[in-house]
């Protein structure tokens, strides 16, 4: 199986993740969209690794997962902290600085 199919799938998933990030107003879902984009790039990494026959792509995907885990920890902590002060998880409600 050629990697083109995997790359197209990766591009489609990345696009859906991008659309989710731009469209959804719930902070948790916007954050999950970023995870979807990271997953899509991971798929591309694995496809390229298989095409070129070396393991560096897999190591890159592994590091993406590590960074995603760290990012989730901080991001969810921020979302919960905002929720505690505003009683809302919507990104539209955090507009205190707006004129």
């Amino acid at each position: 199986m050629n990697p083109e199919g995997f790359l197209v799938l990766s591009a489609i998933l990345f696009t859906i993740g991008l659309a989710g990030f731009l469209l959804r107003r719930n902070a948790i879902i916007a954050f999950l969209s970023i995870e979807l984009m990271l997953n899509a790039t991971n798929l591309a990494f694995v496809a390229f690794a298989r095409f070129h026959g070396n393991l560096d792509g897999l190591v890159a995907a592994f590091f993406v997962m590590v960074v995603a885990a760290a990012e989730v920890v901080i991001g969810l902590a921020i979302i919960v902290a905002v929720y505690r002060s505003r009683r809302s998880a919507s990104v539209d409600d955090a507009n205190l600085m707006k004129l």
Partner: protein, 273 residues
């Protein structure tokens, strides 16, 4: 050489089964308005991606995609969704004018750009496959470990620092300062006595509910010495619900019995005279 019957490999079967599943799940993720549905659909995407990893000779990534990504990270998302946003629908109000259309157009543009860029060229030839690279140190995991602890060891150590920083950061963010000093038992006793001195509020416990010959449930008010009802002997919640029993009804049998007795006594005494 083009074979007459197309050679369908397990990898291709996995791709044509899992790719549509992952795209459908991603669309459900995008379009459902409840956060919990989105998170579950995301789990579907991640599991089907894990199968695709397995189909591409990456068993280690297959396992950690399921165990770490779907099992740990996504479940943490679900945990937070259940904690703070389980019943909140995504708002359909546009705070920025035309935001939805603009965002859709941007996403569509990026999608067309990416897919056309990827689809325009072919890589040429069959993929080299990871079999040789995996076999070098006797398997996928030993070979990956060789890369990770050899070539990429500094990156690996940096990621350890990153994870520790993230853990400390989460603790700092989750930590809430106590605004008031915690009340000790002595403070509470002092406050009770002060309230008694200032407002005359009774410092002791509240009166218990009433005990009658036929009933002693908590919805029955106690009586004060003058026969009136002690308001504090029944929970406010029960009073608001209106389930408090009418005391006069409970008293009625006793009163009639006493009246009958007194009437009988009067009769007997009247006979004597």
């Amino acid at each position: 050489m083009i074979p007459l019957i197309p050679l369908v490999t397990a990898s291709e079967v996995a791709f044509w089964v899992c790719a549509p599943i992952s795209i459908v799940c991603a669309l459900i993720f995008l379009l459902s308005r409840k956060p919990i549905h989105s998170a579950i659909a995301m789990a579907g995407v991640m599991v089907s991606l894990a199968v695709l990893y397995a189909a591409q000779d990456a068993p280690f990534l297959f396992v950690i995609q399921i165990v770490v990504y779907t099992g740990a990270i996504l479940m943490m998302f679900l945990f937070v969704v259940m904690l703070i946003g389980i019943d909140s629908l995504d708002s359909v109000v546009e705070t920025l004018k035309g935001h939805r259309i603009a965002a859709s157009l941007v996403a569509l543009g990026v999608g067309i750009l990416l897919i056309s860029a990827v689809g325009q060229f072919t890589m040429g030839g069959q993929p080299a496959g990871l079999a040789a690279a995996n076999a070098e140190y006797g398997g996928n995991i030993p070979s990956l470990a060789n890369k990770l602890f050899g070539e990429y060891v500094f990156l690996f150590e940096a990621s350890a620092a990153l994870l520790i920083t993230a853990a400390v950061g989460a603790m700092v963010l989750a930590h809430g300062e106590r605004l008031k000093k915690k009340m000790s038992q002595l403070d509470e006793a002092d406050a009770r006595v002060r309230r008694y001195a200032e407002t005359g509020e009774h410092p002791g416990p509240l009166p218990s509910s009433g005990v009658f010959a036929r009933h002693n449930a908590i919805s029955i008010p106690a009586l004060l010495p003058d026969g009136s009802i002690a308001e504090k002997s029944v929970s406010k919640t029960l009073t608001m619900r209106g389930v408090v029993v009418d005391v006069d009804e409970l008293r009625a049998p006793t009163s009639t019995a006493y009246q009958a007795l007194e009437g009988r006594t009067d009769e007997l005494e009247g006979d004597d005279e």
